[in-house]
């Protein structure tokens, strides 16, 4: 299968579904990570240009950990909006990855970039298959199945399905550590350690299914419905 994980910022995908991506990759699925914004406000010391460059390299290093492709849309951090331009950009990027399964932020996420990134992504699931919507990459043949992933605080998110990531949490942590600039930033802003936070959530979500570490997912009621929970690894 081809898997596309879409995150608003560099490190979102790693934080929220990195263990699942590592599991997909580990069994031979083709994983692509699409990052909407360049994270260009996430530094207490660098300029916007400098931190964006750092974050691109971090994201690439993280993707390399599991052999994933990286799509970098380069929107300004904190200023992603849903309009014709961004919709069209996402359609083209999703077609490039041509996924069977899309993992996206939850549509009720507390962060505006996350929520809007989720909305754009979900709203693309039908248009990506329509031939008369012409972009660089050809129309996809089938509608991808969409799962929404948890957020780092688990805020207002009740999983419907869990993926046991006990075997891949080390890989997840390794990916996350590639985002070294964010560890500095989050320490600076909130006094929190990015890997420690990820472990807290992964450990908590493991309780339901009775495993050491897990990640949680939900689906949206949609139409038509091209798959189901068996698409999770």
């Amino acid at each position: 299968m081809r898997i596309l994980a879409i995150g608003a910022h560099p490190d979102d995908v790693e934080l929220c579904c990195g263990g699942t991506l590592a599991k997909y990759a580990g069994r031979g699925d083709q994983v692509t990570i699409l990052i909407a914004t360049n994270g260009n406000v996430g530094s207490p010391t660098l300029t916007m240009k400098e931190i964006a460059d750092v974050r691109y390299k971090e994201a690439q290093a993280s993707a390399d950990v599991i052999g994933a492709d990286l799509i970098w849309l380069n929107y300004d951090d904190e200023f992603l909006f849903h309009n014709r331009e961004s919709r069209m950009t996402f359609i083209n990027a999703i077609r490039k990855a041509n996924p069977d399964v899309m993992l996206v932020h939850s549509n009720n996420d507390y962060h505006p970039d996350h929520r809007i990134c989720s909305e754009i992504s979900i709203d693309c699931r039908i248009p990506v298959t329509v031939p008369l919507i012409v972009t660089e990459y050809p129309a996809m043949v089938k509608i991808p199945h969409v799962f929404m992933y948890d957020n780092v605080g688990g805020i207002d998110f009740q999983p419907e399905a869990y993926v046991d990531i006990t075997d891949t949490i080390q890989t997840k942590a390794k990916m996350l550590k590639c985002h070294a600039s964010q560890d500095i930033w989050l320490q600076h802003m909130y006094g929190s350690d990015i890997v420690a936070n990820m472990v807290r959530t992964s450990s908590f979500r493991g309780q339901g299914p009775g495993v050491k570490y897990a990640e949680g997912f939900r689906s949206l009621p949609m139409f038509p419905i091209p798959g189901g929970a068996h698409l999770l690894p």
Copy 2:
């Protein structure tokens, strides 16, 4: 009464509330069908211009079946957005129809054009009555009552009120068959027959009220509230 049914695409209104419109028309109410997009991506073979032309003619033919007026906003299919321009265009178009009752997509519909079309329509209910918002047509005197109609898969939609369409389902089917291009398109994309799908949903919704065929509607909690369920036929 004057009734305005607003759909994102040609055929949406027929699919989801065509039987109710036929019933309104049949008892002498003035029905207008407003279609936001021109359906210009809905073909496997024609150009965007060609399929848009076809769909306009189909929509007109369908409206003619029940003697309804047609308002054609001509937005690009799959690319309806909510901004000042579209809000203003909808305000003017609603004023042209000057409805007592508006039937719109549900605000949680699974399709982006449907959901956004619903949002714009609902957000116009107060502005259409405000004189200092100047458009081609004069401000309306009273706020129209808004019902949200079901979607073809009944996804996440629990009706609050039902309209028995047993006597008008043939008219509904006749309207739908005017959209011949969409039958081709949906067969091509999903292998589904548009009239058959409509009958499946109408038959299912008939079970609750114990009739052969029905359509379901919901209201949104709003303020002020200028009417109620007795406005349904």
Copy 3:
């Protein structure tokens, strides 16, 4: 696997998940049908004793169609309540079937017997595994996974997962026809044809996944969580 479908009345299980049971049975799973009440008010002409006898035979005939075991709890129709006696009776009956998967009414079903039957069933999922709760049959070794099935009108029920029953709807209809007394009763009370109603709902639910006929299921958020959607056939 061992599958246990629990219904409040004879014919509930067939109406709401009969196609799925036929599919489980057809692939070799062991299916048990547990019926809480004896249906002893469902006749316009017979005595309570007579109609209860008829319904038991009908239920047995229906179970025989797919080679399912039948557990008959014999509670009075319309008077199922949740108390220590009924909880204990259900624990014992579930242990007898010893299921991997339980299919139960939805916890928000519109009918009191359905809703209460759902509540008792769900509340037994942990106690059935506790050795110090002694009943005729031994404590189960693992907690069964619980799915809630749709209701005949699809009232307030949005499926999370679908089972394609296109290949087993004839078997489902055959099971349902065994409940001939209920066809008479529903014709008498509501003028509705039990098989026709089932087909209406199965056809409607097929639209989402794009098949001819389907049945819909949901899960409840629970703890601990011993399985998932891949347990559906």
Copy 4:
């Protein structure tokens, strides 16, 4: 039409839908008020027997204001439970009134007697029509339509339909004043004036529909569905 309003305590019905009852009665509908408990804990000075007697007389006087029949079930105040005995008692009492429309507490009311009274009432809507469930009064011919009424604080209750009670609020107040013992009791317990509280809520609910005073109602999604919002006066 025949209307049955069911309240847990003497004065509940008056507080929450008294204006609507007065309106029904005023246009010639037959109104019955069913009171589940005898209010026998609602006094700071009287014995349980004494206050129950007082409250029965008050309830009778209130019903007389609009020419309503009174059904008095005499359960202990604060100790209404849902079991076979109470279900059977309600079935018989509802059959006595033989209503087209039932007005009941909301199923999520904050007070246990209200919530349980609502649950019993709603769960009787099908059994009241079943001939083999034999009680003193004969089985009803059709399922009554059920509306849930607001609570005095409007807690967690969003009306779907409003009844303008501007013309009957004086009658509503007159009915409420018959419950003089409760004015004493609520002054004693909460320092609140029962008529003043009623006016606060009726005035607030009037804002939505733009009238001086209104009462709000909701429906539950049910099956089958024998009526609709046009049944409100």
Copy 5:
């Protein structure tokens, strides 16, 4: 503390949380009122320019009643949209007020300007603290706590917390009366008296906590969470 109340139109803040603002101000907190639109459609007789001027003066007079600062964003009434420009404008304005607590419209408010104003405001809570997002005023040091306030009809709004405004309702009324043009407008459009409506809602909300007048508030689940209900006066 510094308190920022954000309203879509002149008078929204007074109507929905004016008593709470008066209470904050009365105990010495620094209150700022931010008004997004200039109310330039709210007149049956004046031009847009004229009524906007009137409303600015009214808003200033109202703010003066409690010694609050006024921030006037001057967007067109009924045409507030959420885009990069409005997000940036709000970020700057919020930084100017530099609040500990923000009071905003509810995110499910029935009026489009209210709902969109709420969305922009809530989406600014994190960006206002980010130094690389450069505006006229410096980045704030900590994330403000956000409460959503009630709407005038209480539509779909269940308070989680109440503020007793019995002592400040006269001040609230005095503030509201500064908006004399809106009293004319609402009388013209809806026949409703703005102060009377406010009293109706404040009186109703007083019932829950057992006081004469109250205002209700809710929080959104968010992350991170920098405060809590004790921040209300």
Copy 6:
């Protein structure tokens, strides 16, 4: 203040709000722990009588850690039901503790004993103040404020308020370790370590408010409302 924490089983209160109880106790509030059932099925080796005795001693030892009073209702584990007897027993027990604040299971908890214990507890909040409801202990003078606490898996529970328990988690762990029999039982049944699970949840809940460990609470919309979130420590 006087605090009453009510749990269905020995160890529930410790697991879900033990840190908050330790904090209340630590600042001088009077804490009472009420345990509904005797935990008499929670052993793989002991008899029901033996394990119940063990659990009583464990509960007493745990309460002693923070100097709390213990009320032991001695219902059979897994068989708590809501009826007149249990309601009356809870009313009397709550009156004995005479709390300002009650901490109870969530009303949507996944475990039947938890859910039913929550329902009984919440339904007692008004009756405990009614003098004519006579029990061993006198009627309380004011309605206690009720908070619902989280569950160990955080299933379907979104906190509205958080208590920082970083300083008391060691005490919480010490209380929990008193329930040594349950560590054996949960290891036997689920292979899970009771203290480790508690730490996982407390750590996770700490993320929102940005502390090391926290516990989450919600309120129910109720009437009347005698307090608020400031009652948490």
